[in-house]
Symmetry: C2
Subunit: 509 residues, 2 copies
């Protein structure tokens, strides 16, 4: 290894160390931190982010990078070349931002999150509006520093942080046919004469017992508790803090045990990806990092929806649930539960939405955040615009902003460009799942016995271990032989809902 390359990696390890500290501070803020510590936490995050950014963008880092790129021997190593390609990408982006803006952004976001929590609790949009305005302005400044790609828009510059190389226009092109096919499918299911019962999932179980069940499931899908932990938070999330330290949260409701299970499976999907990355060997290097949020979300959606909402999974899970939660579940059948977790019903809340209507929530947020960044939508007009879209897309009336535009944490964190990656994740997941199913013929039987090792091994081999070696589009093509498309997700939904809602039968009848 050349000395320049070694020094470069050492520098990046320092940056990663600081970033991991920031990540822990963020995790703590959402799970453990006492309320009165919010102000100092914002200062801490601002300072650590600034120090990490200064280190990443130091002139010496640029010199080392250029020296490595000019070194034929280094570049002839495929791993090093992939690393350097991505280091260059990160460096170019990072050096476009002044460290002061990074610190200001981080501090504002950290304070805004606390303001959002209060505003959401009181359903008081007016209290949050100045923060939103400030964040949109900061996002705009950040996007201007990055600059729009040729022929693109400022939004693309932000999106690029979450989903490298993707543009708003490309997303529109994928979302449009998805929307076109989703809308009639949702209409068919909601108007079907056969409607599965939700009652089976609404039995009450003590949270203590639910925790035991969730911990059991988490371990069974392969989460390493020696290298991670699970806690409770208002908004479930996953944090790949450092090698050997991946933490997830979930949330419980006494009267809806499958919800916590779904949330656990979702976050477990993220966490299994983090635990499967070669982080220890490549700490601080792109080869030890995840590709982008779309692929990250594909891992969570795959476990949440393709495993966790499948019939074989519930065949295995129901007896486990009976054992832990008790005899109340004796009268419930696998089909009851399987159907109840796949009910299509427009909901005001994104994170409580079903697989089919979920993407409509994302499209709405994508459109509104893009409009805010363009200046076409004033932050003050957000609630009105939100409520109109909910009425138009989901046929629901928003009773208050806490169940409307205040429901999500993202904008309060200054994360504009993040939302579309959720649906990209669903699309990647469906497409990857088809490839995986083709290669593991007895998958359903395995899952019905609670065996998830083959799924995890496949994902480890095909996705996790590569880190950022392949960009998302290339990885997708490599895995599935095709570019990203809305079709696998529509096939998956169509097939499942046809059977549950007996849509075929209707058509035949």
């Amino acid at each position: 290894m050349s000395s320049a390359y070694a020094e470069l990696l050492q520098t990046l390890r320092g940056v990663a160390t600081l970033t991991s500290v920031a990540s822990l501070l963020g995790w703590d803020q959402e799970t453990m931190m006492p309320p009165r510590a919010g102000g100092v936490r914002a200062e801490e995050l601002a300072l650590i982010s600034k120090l990490a950014h200064e280190r990443a963008t130091a002139p010496r880092t640029g010199e080392l990078l250029a020296e490595c790129e000019a070194d034929g021997e280094v570049m002839s190593d495929a791993a090093a070349a992939a690393n350097l390609r991505e280091i260059r990408r990160d460096y170019e982006r990072a050096t476009k931002l002044p460290s002061e803006l990074v610190a200001e952004f981080q501090e504002t976001a950290s304070r805004a999150v606390e303001a959002w929590k209060g505003a959401r609790g009181e359903s008081d949009f007016a209290a949050f509006e100045p923060w939103l305005r400030r964040l949109v302005t900061l996002c705009h400044r950040k996007a201007e520093c990055y600059g729009a790609p040729e022929g693109g828009e400022l939004y693309d510059a932000l999106l690029d942080e979450y989903e490298p190389e993707m543009t708003g226009e490309q997303i529109e092109e994928i979302f449009a046919p998805l929307r076109e096919e989703l809308t009639p499918l949702i209409a068919e299911t909601t108007s079907s004469p056969y409607q599965p019962s939700r009652a089976v999932r609404e039995q009450r179980f003590p949270i203590r017992k639910q925790k035991e069940l969730n911990a059991y499931v988490l371990e069974r899908v392969g989460f390493d508790l020696e290298a991670g932990r699970m806690d409770v938070s208002v908004h479930p999330f996953s944090a790949g803090i450092a090698p050997g330290d991946t933490r997830i949260t979930t949330r419980y409701r006494e009267d809806d045990f499958p919800e916590a299970l779904g949330s656990t499976m979702h976050e477990a999907g993220h966490a299994l990806y983090e635990q499967g990355l070669p982080r220890a060997e490549h700490w601080g290097q792109p080869l030890g990092e995840s590709v982008g949020l779309g692929i990250h979300e594909s891992q969570s959606r795959l476990w949440e929806n393709h495993v966790g909402r499948s019939r074989p999974y519930w065949e295995w899970l129901l007896p486990q649930a009976r054992r832990v939660l008790g005899s109340q579940l004796d009268s419930v059948s696998v089909d009851d539960l399987y159907q109840s977790v796949n009910i299509v019903r427009p909901d005001l809340i994104r994170v409580e939405s079903d697989e089919a209507t979920y993407s409509l929530h994302i499209m709405l947020r994508f459109d509104l955040e893009r409009a805010m960044l363009r200046g076409d939508l004033d932050p003050a007009d957000l609630p009105g615009a939100w409520n109109e879209r909910i009425a138009a897309d989901l046929g629901l009336e928003v009773p208050d902003d806490s169940r409307g535009c205040l429901q999500d944490i993202h904008w309060s964190m200054g994360a504009i460009g993040y939302f579309p990656t959720y649906t990209l994740g669903s699309l990647y997941a469906a497409q990857v799942w088809e490839a995986l199913c083709a290669e593991i013929p007895d998958l359903d039987e395995q899952m019905s016995r609670g065996e998830f090792g083959a799924v995890l091994t496949w994902l480890r081999e095909k996705v996790h271990r590569h880190g950022r070696r392949y960009p998302a589009a290339e990885l997708c093509a490599k895995l599935t032989g095709a570019p990203l498309s809305h079709e696998p997700l529509m096939r998956h939904l169509r097939e499942k809902l046809d059977s549950i809602y007996r849509l075929d039968a209707q058509t035949t009848a």
Copy 2:
């Protein structure tokens, strides 16, 4: 405020921000961190400590400090002058250490803590010995950087970090008469024909219920849960992480509910001090910080022993305990419990020792760590030396090192010079308590009603709000009208044990 003073305070605020991050990392390591994250955590702590040290010792900091000291207007303000006196002290100490040593020390200590956990679990001193040796060497290097005070020894340079201005010799002078009076008192109690029963405290109660009781007590003594939290850890501790963020831990045993209560009161004492410091106004300044560990420990000992082991306190607590823990306690009397928490019985474990024998544990550690630093005791010979002293001082045989020289975390953290502050704390506490009692005549009645507001207000006013304005010796003289002495503690113990063990009666008989 002069611009140099403002800039100096701003710099120190940055140092405090980094120190608070390190403190959170340490808290997390003891309470939440998954086992496999230990290596990265050590790197994180090393880097953050190094950055904080670099900032604190930057030449610009020294220039600003000198400029302020030369500014008659700044120095004419008593608060600023006190701040600058202590900033100078800190600066002089910090600049004597190279940042590299700070980082190496921090990283070694962080790894050694993990090694110690393993070694203690297995009672495997050999596994810990190389770490201990490394830490003693590092402590020696650190002490040499600081330099021994005139006429003093290297140990003093380390002690000065925990108990400013105190020397090993002064400690010897206080410990000697204490030992002389403690030894016969312990002999009298242990040989008294009347022996209180321990059985009353050994009833079993679920930890869930104990947690509820401890949380209730914590709130009643005045701990602000909006600005702190309580968790569980192997070794209970308190961490004043930042303004608005003071965290404590405790530990539970099903068959000893008073132990957790004692541990909670102890840590609450530390935490009430932290919450009472003017940290928000003086964040990063000596005026917002605690005086030293002796005074800090006096706060914990005061609440643990003078409040939490008093009869009036148990008059109040027993009905609360019955309410939360259940009817098992109906047959237990206040005197039963009061006596059971004051039993004098030599114990192998420091943190489980009674008020009287506790200080013998400290004297042993003080002597052994001083000998290790001087090179008079090789780390390999620690178990032998330990076991001999335990036999001589407490009449006990050490069955394994996990109940011997591996029981405490301190040396694994590189904390040599820390232990004596525990007994200094007990001495300060007894002396301060006498002053407090003299000024609150109906204190016993208040405590028997579960009213602790007067105690807290007195401590806030006399101790907490001053930060480091007065050095420990000056504060002690101001509060009690006398220099630190072993006599108040001996009076306290003598009076209590005379009554419980009926020693007076014996003498009279």
